[in-house]
Amino acid sequence: MIETFDPLKGEMLMILHPDGRCEEKLKPDLTDETVQTLYRRMVFIRLADQRALALQRQGRLGTYAPVHGQEAAQVGSAYALGEKDWVFPSFREMGVCTMRGVPLKDIYLYWMGNEMGQKVPENVHVFPISIPVGSHPLHAVGAAWAAKLRGEKICMVTYFGDGGTSEGDFHEAMNFAGVFQTPTLFFCQNNQYAISVPRKIQTAAKTLAQKAIAYGFHGVQVDGNDLFAVYAATKEAREKALSGGGPTMIEAVTFRFGPHTTADDPTKYRTDAEVDEWKPRDPLLRTQRYLKKKGLWSEEIEKEIKEEAEAEITQAVEDAEGFPPPKPGEFFQYTFAELTPNLKEQMDDFLAFLKEKGN
């Protein structure tokens, strides 16, 4: 399927239309029950996102990069992965991370300014968030190469934005993946903006997907607000990777409804009209419509889903806020496996200073 949608011809994979209509021929093997579950996760993510914004406004959480609008791209792709696959996220992947088993509590904890939030559970294969844009796809390529060398049938997915494709490291990652045919999936959420910079200033290429041509493998554009298209493309790319077919790039065309981060004021660089244009393509709405047609969605169901989600979210907030503060000098402890004499000395001096201060 991926190979039949040619980005150079402006072709984009769309299965679930904004009105809830579905291209039955292309529809992936998702039971209605699964679609319901995935819809639940999308609602959960949207609400967890809103909560983060609220907490930030209340000064209970630091800068946060919201997912709002990109739920289908994150849920659809994350769901298509195997249990042992790894994910290499950027900073906007709360949806992906929770889907892959990172407790929401940890994500909140991290944005509250505690590094412990990135110590994911042992059975979870999510790499810590990479803040430097475009730099982490290389890590996914290396880890995928390692898996390939060991003959493991897994795939490594890296998430990045439209802005990320401009960095030199993105290029080097794509190129290494092509050369070593690593089982890497380059998942680009093209949400139309890199902070204030619109997609068209990011590159003169008509699509981001066509960038894969430079590296000798396939890139495909999918409607990133279409749960089915995202899932189907990811699944296919993953299977290709597992069967030795090498990397794929997926450009999920989506839109960031919210600010870049809580520190951003999007009215500086885009109009309400532009945002409104995207509203009918809201990924939740679309899935809702699909489910409604199947008789699997109603206002009551929605209410119940939301209540359940809110409860879970509230618990996560409580857990994060109840998490013990770092021990004095904790930040010295993870520089090396063992403290060097120099670090030991610095830490001792720091602890002595605390003591003198009477803490």
Binding site: G62, T63, N114, P132, V133, E167, S196, P328, F332, N342
Partner: protein
């Protein structure tokens, strides 16, 4: 004369130079429509057009590498890097090219340009948004490294930087951006690059600092004054070239020195200052020079940020230590 914060002061300096010299041009991520994430370039695109305040693709090496090309061909680019944490992708262009064009071409090509960036901690930011790497830059021959600590200096130094015939790294203490307002003349003026400033005279101990640490040091020194310690405070204002004479003169007078910086201690700029004091004023010293600095760890997130940063208390402790020696 209006009271301005540092963001406004730099903005005014850029505005004036763009007015005077059509070759001056702003490039970087979000510098155009958005006016920069800290609004330092606010209004410049509106005033001077899309071609003189230009949003670029998200690529730091690209930004400074292209700026080099503009500079050798008649423009005076002022490139912005969004945070110093995102300087490293641009380091190759800076270290291997920008700093060397004059030398490599024996003066046939030169590279007058400014690379601005906010640096330092204290704003509860995510990872990579609090770094201080001035000593890495000061180690690179062929670039100058300027760090204002006040709105007045910031305007005068950015204007001087733009007019300088050589490449300048201009580090802006983001924690100070909106923290102080002071009188900033509407006229166009410069503050010379490579001149330190004695902010407070005193005979007991010399405190050397720059950037956001200046305010912390001044606070510490006030506390010290209450203990009867009379400190001299020197703001370096440029860390390359360094104004050795100003601090050496002070050291010869006070015989005691505390250096404050946010960057990790090891191979930070403090070490170089100590080395120069050692070379030129060793016999004046009556106590080991004390460094109050960031630690040799990654800059921590919000919960531990204040533990990492030199605070007035920690600086005071350093002052007491050199006094007690």
């Amino acid at each position: 004369m209006a009271k301005r914060n540092m963001v406004e002061a730099i903005n005014a300096g850029l505005m004036e130079e763009m007015e005077k010299d059509p070759a001056v041009m702003i490039i970087g991520e979000d510098v155009g429509k958005e006016g920069g994430v800290f609004r330092v370039t606010d209004g410049l695109q509106a005033k001077f057009g899309l071609e003189r305040a230009v949003d670029t693709p998200l690529a730091e090496s690209g930004i400074v590498g292209v700026a080099l090309g503009l500079a050798i061909n008649g423009f005076k680019p002022v490139a912005e890097l969004q945070f110093m944490g995102f300087l490293p992708p641009a380091l190759d262009q800076i270290l291997n090219h920008i700093s060397r064009i004059r030398n490599r071409s024996r003066g046939r090509y030169t590279c007058p340009m400014v690379i601005r960036m906010p640096y330092g901690g204290g704003i509860h930011a995510p990872e990579h948004h609090s770094e201080s790497m001035e000593s890495i830059l000061a180690h690179i021959p062929g670039i100058k490294v300027v760090i204002p600590s006040t709105p007045y200096d910031a305007k005068g130094l950015i204007v001087a930087a733009i007019r300088d015939p050589d490449p300048i790294l201009f580090l802006e203490p983001k924690r100070v951006y909106r923290a102080i307002k002071e009188e900033v003349p509407e006229d166009n003026y410069t503050v010379p690059i490579g001149e330190a400033k004695v902010l407070r005279e005193g005979g007991d101990v010399t405190v050397i600092c720059w950037g956001a640490m200046v305010r912390e040091a001044l606070r510490a020194v006030e506390m010290a004054a209450e203990e009867g310690i009379n400190a001299e405070v020197i703001d370096l204002r440029a860390v390359s070239p360094m104004d050795d004479n100003t601090y050496l003169e002070s050291v010869r007078k006070t015989a005691r020195v505390v250096i404050v910086h946010e960057a990790p201690k090891t191979c930070g700029l403090g070490a170089e200052i100590i080395a120069r004091v050692n070379e030129k004023a060793l016999l004046s010293l009556e106590a080991p020079v004390e460094r109050v600095t960031g630690y040799d760890t990654t800059f921590p997130l919000t919960k531990m940020e204040q533990d990492y940063l030199p605070s007035p208390e920690r600086i005071l402790r350093g002052i007491r230590k050199v006094m007690a020696f």
